[in-house]
């Protein structure tokens, strides 16, 4: 050793498994390979591999090569001395050296013990052969060598017994089946995976496992392995015997503390460490991973190891001297023998007032349960269908608010689609629970230029642990890289081109007095225009500034440039305002005349109770508007559109309130208001709901006693959701007031393109009631005032027919095609 090298502190790591190697990686990531002179001892003669994936190797789903995390060259490149296949026998804390099986002593300045776990082998007669360790045909399932040995043996044997119905046992049983071995699984407890599942869940998992052809026997305490030279079977304590020529003992793991114990270090269930992973009373000795006992807890899952490795590396390198490990809330999501299982926290209620929501469908192998205490999720179990696991893990981790209807914890009931929930996942939400990769990290990698799933997985390690999050990672990568206008590279940004969430953006716009889209780009995005951001910014600026907004026509979407809805052939649809769906003979006559005069190819009634003239050429729009001489119905904007009504009390014999008049009044006041998403409203005169008010962004229902119910957040599009009851009020005036406040609160607080059906559940109906009905935060007067300003700034955009706002505003963009390109449908024809 040279003088220079001797000056570097020596770091010795005992254990070359996932925790030890990860700690070294984290150290090198922080300070490079030269801070420490690193020596690693590993009992196994290999580089470092992903132990979790051994079950994939066993089942043949993965090659051995694919599970290595760090190959031998990695150790060389980083100047690490790897003593693979070398067992450390003793730590000499006084001389600060470790003694290995070959008699060598290796001095250290800092020592990390990462000896992991050993398989737990219950006392079973005949498991061990007096001379050669395990009996021929008896295996544990912990290492690559174990796995290889099992595969070799399984190839020419027929019947296997697996002892242990936990995760490892199930994986072993499933894996062995691949070699044509018939498998019986013996489990001492009353149901499978009893550490993670309650009895019902365990039974449902059992049915799924049995469907795979694995025989399951519970309450089976194995007493003896039968057979003298070769395994012939096992006998249970109750006398039952099972024939087998191979036995796998997968009854759990125990922290591997033999070395620490032999060296006089404090050991209880594991090696006792403090929040810096320092072994009690040993200033230079640390322990990390499954061998550790921290605050009375030991961990057998990978995520806590990663957290520990980070803390230890921050501490050892001095890059984060305050780093502390506070323990982990363990949540697991696994594929167990081909069945999806997720579990976190407690499995059953513990107190009288704990809420316990359970759904079981044994025939399909689906089981879901959640335990809620004081409005916080304290436990959840999912089997067979883990679609809600992302949301539940987030709620479990952070104690975030839960939906009032608890069943929504288990199912998506007409909520936003899965894509939206991926998009709405918070930036710091952990996607890969094995490697601790957040959505933000994935998005940052994609926006940093990595556009392939594998590239992102390589760069972040996401999906490289157990692999169960790959689908979600793929969805997020796809979403972050998508070319769609609605795709948003950073979840919290209001628009993709300005790196700010909506409140921050609004504050900046107000503080700097930014009144145009280009002013926003100049001030807040380094002058970088972004086409995908323009539409959202126009909406926001118009909402904020009303009359003072400085219009830049090019920033508008084509629909808002020409106040009509572009159709697939480049023509437009024209929908005149028809308040509350009420019209007159004179209006109908005029519409008919216009349709004839301009040879409108299709005249159609809309779902919003208006009349749509389709197939209008862009250049004809001003003439059509002039001939109609009716205001715009806004059937093209992210804005207030229409109020659907029923006949109401004047004519309908069931009508309880004058829904028609109220609908007209609402439309008159709020017409054309721009919003983050389109707004479809309805007023219906009785709970028969003819105007479909329960499934509108805002729906008003007249009820007996002259009162009115206001529902918000409904939808009847691709996603169907019944609105939440915001309030029940006595007068139409109150309906108007609360409608105004809700609309304005939505306009100011919803994300761009976030419809009310997503916004209302996100904020929570109870919170909305506080804010809007009870005015708990005193927002009311401000909301009213700003809304009034927007209402006052309303101009019918179809007045632009008299003088185009820009040159060529209505010039066609596709003059050479014969338009319309859609078929002309005569009235009444199918």
């Amino acid at each position: 050793m040279t003088q220079a090298q001797e000056r570097r502190p020596r770091l010795v790591v005992v254990g070359n498994g996932m925790a030890g190697a990860r700690t070294v990686e984290e150290i090198i990531d922080r300070v490079g390979p030269d801070r420490y002179d690193i020596t690693m001892f590993g009992t196994e003669p290999y580089g470092n591999y992903n132990r979790i994936l051994l079950s994939n190797v066993l089942s043949g789903a993965e090659e051995e090569d694919g599970i290595f995390l760090n190959s031998l060259p990695w150790y060389q490149e980083n100047g690490i001395t790897l003593r693979a296949g070398m067992t450390v026998t003793r730590i000499d804390g006084f001389a600060k050296a470790v003694h290995a099986a070959d008699g060598t002593a290796t001095p250290y300045d800092k020592l990390v013990i990462a000896t992991g776990s050993v398989p737990f082998v219950p006392p079973i007669d005949g498991a061990h052969h007096p001379r050669r360790g395990f009996h021929q045909g008896v295996f544990t399932f912990r290492t690559l060598d174990d796995t290889r040995a099992m595969i070799r043996y399984a190839r020419d044997h027929q019947r296997a017994v697996v002892i242990g119905g936990g995760l490892l046992g199930l994986e072993a049983a499933r894996g062995l089946q691949q070699y044509g071995v018939s498998v019986t699984l013996l489990h001492a407890a009353g149901h499978l995976m009893n550490a993670q599942l309650d009895a019902t869940g365990g039974d449902i998992l059992r049915r799924s496992v049995e469907r795979l052809g694995i025989d399951v026997v519970t309450k089976a305490r194995t007493e003896r392995i039968l057979g003298k030279d070769n395994v012939e079977g096992v006998r249970l304590a109750d006398g039952r015997t099972f024939a087998a020529d191979m036995v796998v003992i997968a009854a759990g793991i125990r922290p591997n503390t033999a070395l620490a114990q032999a060296s006089g270090l404090p050991v209880e269930r594991g090696i006792v460490v403090d929040d810096q992973l320092r072994v009690l009373d040993e200033p230079d000795v640390y322990a990390v991973g499954e061998c550790v006992q921290h605050r009375g807890q030991t961990y057998g899952l990978v995520a806590p190891l990663w957290e520990q490795a980070k803390v230890l590396a921050g501490h050892l390198t001095g890059t984060d001297p305050t780093a502390a490990y506070h323990g982990s809330r363990t949540a697991t999501k696994l594929k167990v023998a081909g069945v999806d299982v997720a579990s976190m926290g407690v499995t059953a209620p513990e107190r009288d007032d704990d809420e316990f929501v359970v759904f079981a469908e044994p025939r399909r192998g689906v089981y879901k349960s959640v335990v809620v205490r004081d409005d916080r999720l304290i436990g959840a179990t999912l089997i067979g269908d883990v679609s809600k696991v992302g949301f539940l893990m987030q709620a479990f981790d952070r104690g975030s608010p839960l939906p009032e209807e608890r069943v929504r914890l288990l199912f998506d009931l007409g909520g936003p689609p899965a894509e939206v929930s991926a998009a709405e996942l918070a930036d710091d939400a952990q996607v890969c629970n094995c490697n601790g990769v957040s959505k933000g990290a994935l998005v940052a990698t994609v926006t940093g230029g990595v556009r392939t799933l594998t590239g992102v997985m390589d760069a972040t390690r996401a999906g490289k642990g157990c692999g169960s999050c790959k689908t979600l990672v793929a969805q997020i990568v796809e979403w972050a890289a998508g070319g769609e206008v609605e795709a948003d590279p950073a979840a919290n940004w209001y628009v993709p081109g300005v790196p700010m969430d909506k409140p921050t953006l609004m504050a900046e716009i107000r503080a700097r007095g930014l009144r145009s889209v280009s002013a926003v780009f100049d001030a807040l995005a380094d002058g970088q225009e972004d086409a995908k951001s323009k539409m959202g910014l126009v909406s926001l600026l118009r909402m904020m500034w009303g009359d003072e907004y400085v219009d830049e026509r090019g920033a508008r979407f084509i629909n808002d440039r020409v106040h009509a809805n572009i159709q697939r052939d480049g023509t437009f649809s024209v929908v005149p305002q028809m308040k509350g769906g009420c019209t007159t003979p004179a209006q109908l006559r005029r519409i008919a005349d216009v349709a004839e005069k301009h040879q409108v190819p299709l005249v159609k009634l809309t779902g919003g109770q208006r009349i749509d003239l389709l197939g209008i050429r862009k250049e004809d729009l001003p003439k059509v508007w002039a001939d109609l001489d009716m205001p715009s119905g806004y059937a093209y904007g992210k804005s207030f559109r229409t109020v659907k009504t029923c006949v109401g009390s004047e004519f309908c014999r069931f009508g309880l309130g004058d829904s028609t008049a109220l609908g007209i009044a609402i439309e008159e006041r709020f017409q054309g208001l721009e919003a983050p998403g389109k707004l479809k409203l309805a007023v219906t005169g009785c709970p028969r709901n003819c105007a479909e008010a329960y499934v509108k962004d805002l729906g008003v229902v007249a009820i007996e006693g002259g009162r009115w119910e206001i529902y918000v957040g409904g939808a009847a599009g691709a996603h169907v959701r019944k609105g939440d009851l915001l309030a029940t009020v006595d007068t139409p005036a109150e309906v108007m007031a609360l409608t105004g406040r809700f609309l304005q609160y939505y306009r100011e607080n919803a994300n761009w393109l976030e419809r009310t059906y997503a916004f209302v559940p996100r904020v929570g109906i109870e919170r909305l009631r506080e804010l809007i009905v009870e005015d708990s935060d005193g927002l009311g007067p401000g909301l009213d005032e700003r809304l009034a300003a927007s209402v006052a700034a309303y101009r019918d955009p179809w007045r632009e027919r008299d003088a185009p706002v820009t040159p060529g505003q209505f010039r066609t963009a596709l003059p050479l095609l014969p338009l319309p390109a859609v078929p002309v449908r005569a009235g009444g024809q199918p």
Partner: protein, 139 residues
């Protein structure tokens, strides 16, 4: 697509000044007068029929001009009606994204054609394209 080499049309063969006066260049390209630049509001595009082709001309907020084929290769959307920034145009129908300088799609569609375009000292917009006859028609 046609037999004309798009790369040559879009790329380095044409150098700004060489096209002054609308002269034929090398017998393969011809420059056409589109109209006053004032017809195209800054930040917007307008479509022009040229020799049986449709060309969308965009005026960036910097004042620079870009010209591409006017019809979206995905479903025939009118690109001149699309939102733009300094780099891309977004088709108004299905939000496919195309680079204005190269015509390349950023959303997996076939590329657009690009055309050299300039504004003369009198504020007239000119676009260069293959001589009629060389080009069999629009995309």
């Amino acid at each position: 697509m046609t037999a004309v080499d798009d790369g040559r049309l879009a790329g380095g063969a044409l150098v700004g000044g060489a096209l002054a006066g609308g002269a034929l260049v090398g017998g393969r390209l011809v420059e056409r007068r589109l109209g006053p630049v004032g017809e195209i509001p800054p930040g917007e595009g307008r479509a022009y029929p040229v020799d049986g082709l449709m060309v969308a001309v965009f005026r960036l907020t910097t004042g620079a001009l870009r010209a591409v084929s006017a019809v979206c290769p995905h479903a025939g959307g009118p690109l001149a009606d699309g939102l733009i920034d300094a780099e891309v145009v977004i088709c108004p129908l299905h939000q496919h994204v195309f680079e204005l300088a190269t015509g390349c799609s950023r959303s997996g569609q076939p590329p657009l054609r690009t055309y050299p375009v300039r504004q003369d000292p009198d504020g007239i917009v000119w676009v260069s394209l293959a001589q009629a006859g060389d080009d069999a028609g629009g995309p």
